[in-house]
C-alpha cells in the first residue's frame, strides 16, 4: 500500500484530425493516503477516467506529476492494477487462465502462479467456476474475474474505472457489497471512478468531486461513516446528507451542460 500524490496535473489531448489542443484535465491536486478507498465522481466529460488512467500509466500527462509511494509514474507498473469497465477477459482462456494472465505478463516470481490465481478466484467467490469460459459467465461474474486478475498481482494500488457501470442495478448493489468484503481482507489503496453517487458514498473514505471544462477537482468530501459498511447505512440520515451534497454538485454541472448544448 502506498500513498498517491498528484500535483498540478494537466493532461492535454490533440483533437482528432486537427492540431488543436484541449485540456482534458487541468490543475489537479490530490493526495490519497495508504489504505484509503477514494471515489472519483462527476458528470460525463469531467476527466475522471482520464485521471484514473494517468495514474495507471496508460495515459501520458502533459504537466505536473504523479507519484506513488514516492516513485514517479512513467507507465504501467507492477505496483498498480486496473479493473476496467469492460471485463476485457481473453475469451479463449478459462477463468483460471485469465486470472493467471496478469501474473504471466508481469513475469511473477512470487511462487506458483496457479496457486496465487486460485487464492484470488476463491476470494471473489468463483472457486467453482475456475474452468469456465467467459462466455459461460454472467456480467457480474466476469467482473469478479476481472477483479481477481487485478488482485492476483498484489498491487500497491487498485484502480477501478466504473467497474460496475455495465451491470444492471441489482447486480451492481450486490457487487458493491462484494467489493467491500474483498477489499476489507487487505485494505489496499483504491481509486474508484463512478457516476453512481450512492455507490461512491457506500464504498469510500473520501470522494473527489470533479467538474468539467476543463476537468478539475471541485471538492473532496470525507465520508466518515463507520466501517464495516452495511446496506442499512443507505437509509441513514448522514448518508442522505452526503447524497444531497453530491447531487447538488452534479445538478450544477447539468445546468451548465444544458446551456452549452443549446449554444452549440
Amino acid at each position: 500500500m502506498a500513498e498517491i500524490e498528484i500535483r498540478n496535473l494537466g493532461i492535454d489531448y490533440r483533437k482528432p484530425n486537427s492540431d488543436e489542443l484541449f485540456a482534458a484535465v487541468d490543475n489537479v491536486n490530490l493526495s490519497v493516503g495508504e489504505g484509503e478507498f477514494v471515489s472519483i465522481v462527476g458528470s460525463s466529460g469531467c476527466g475522471k477516467s482520464t485521471l484514473l488512467l494517468s495514474v495507471a500509466g496508460l495515459v501520458k500527462i502533459t504537466r505536473g506529476s504523479i507519484t506513488i509511494g514516492g516513485k514517479t509514474v512513467t507507465g504501467p507498473g507492477p505496483d498498480r492494477a486496473v479493473v476496467f469497465q469492460d471485463a476485457s477477459l481473453l475469451p479463449w482462456r478459462t477463468v483460471l487462465g485469465n486470472v493467471r494472465f496478469g501474473l504471466e505478463m508481469q513475469r511473477w516470481t512470487g511462487g506458483d502462479l496457479t496457486k496465487q490465481a486460485m487464492s484470488m478466484i476463491k476470494l471473489v467467490g468463483l472457486a467453482r467456476f475456475a474452468d469456465y469460459y467467459p462466455h459461460q459467465l454472467s456480467g457480474g461474474m466476469r467482473q469478479r474475474v476481472n477483479i481477481a486478475r487485478a488482485l492476483a498481482v498484489d498491487p500497491e494500488v487498485l484502480l477501478m474505472d466504473e467497474p460496475f457501470g455495465a451491470l444492471d442495478a441489482q447486480t451492481r448493489e450486490i457487487m458493491g457489497g462484494e467489493l467491500l468484503r474483498i477489499w476489507e481482507s487487505d485494505k489496499k489503496t483504491a481509486l474508484f471512478v463512478t457516476h453512481d453517487i450512492d455507490e461512491a458514498i457506500f464504498l469510500s473514505d473520501k470522494i473527489v468531486v470533479m467538474g468539467r471544462n476543463p476537468g478539475h477537482v471541485k471538492e473532496v468530501i470525507t465520508v466518515d461513516l463507520p466501517r464495516p459498511r452495511t446496506p442499512e447505512i443507505l437509509d441513514s440520515e448522514r448518508f442522505t446528507e452526503f447524497r444531497r451534497r453530491l447531487r447538488a454538485h452534479l445538478a450544477a454541472d447539468m445546468a451548465g451542460m444544458h446551456f452549452m448544448e443549446e449554444a452549440a
Binding site: 495507471a56 500509466g57 496508460l58 504501467p76 507498473g77 507492477p78 492494477a81 486496473v82 476496467f84 469492460d86 476485457s88 481473453l90 475469451p91 479463449w92 494472465f101 496478469g102 504471466e104 505478463m105 508481469q106 469460459y133 467467459p134 462466455h135 454472467s138 456480467g139 486478475r149 498481482v153
Partner: protein
Amino acid sequence: MMMDIFMRRQALILGTLSLVTIVVLWQLVVDFGIVNPFFISTPGAVWQEFLVQLNDGSLLTNILATLYSFALALGLAVAVGIGLGMLSGWFQDVEAALEPFIWFKYSAPTVAFYPLFIAWLGYGTPTIVAIAFLFALTPIYANTLSGIKNVDRDLKRAAISFGARPYDIFFRVALPGSVPVIVAGLRLGVGRALTGVVVAELFGANAGLGYSIAYYAQMLQTNRMMVPIVTVILLGVILTQALSYVEKKTDAWRVTHDN
C-alpha cells in the same frame, strides 16, 4: 422422437433430399425429351460410367493428381498467406508496402496471366500449382491481416496495463484472438485452391479431374465427362464443409461477449 432427430439433422436431411430431387429432375428432364441426353447425359448413364472409371482406376488416378496439386498450392498459399498476413497485420509499413500489389491482384483476374505462366513454367504441374496458389492466397492473406490488425482494443489495453510487451501482445492476445478469422479465410482459400487447380487442368495437364473433363469434352463423350464434373463439385462441398466444421469448433469461445 422423430421431430427431435429431424431438428438436429436438419441440414443433412434437407441436403440429401434436395440432392435426390436434383437427380430425379435430371432423369425426368431427359425422359420427357426436354433435353437431349447427349447434352447432359442421364443419372443412370453417369452412374454406370462412374463405376467403370472407379474400377479401372482412372477416376482415382485423376482425383489423386488433382489433390496433389491442390495440396501443394494450398500449402504454399497457407505458408505465404499467413506469414505475410501476420507481418502486414502487425507492422503497418509492411501492410502499406504490400497493399498496392494486393489491390492489383484483387482487380486483375489471375487467369488473364495464365499464358504468362505457361511461358515461364510450361504446361504441367508447376503452372497448375502456381495458378491455384495465387487463387487461394487472397482470402488467406486478407483474413490473417484483418485478424491480427483488428485485435480487440480492450484486451490490448488490459494486457498493457499488466505490463505486456509488444511480443506478449502479439503471441498472447492478437494471435489467439485471430484464429477464427484466419480459419474462415482458410475455408475460402480451400474452395479457391480447388477451383484454381481444376481450371488450370482444363488447359494443360496430363492427369487430374480438370484434365479428364477437357479430354472427354474434346471427344464429345458427355457421359464420361459428367463423372469428373460431379466429382469436383462433391469434392468442393466436402472440403468446404470440413473446414466449416473446424471453424465452428474454434469459434466455440466466441459465442457472446454480452448476454
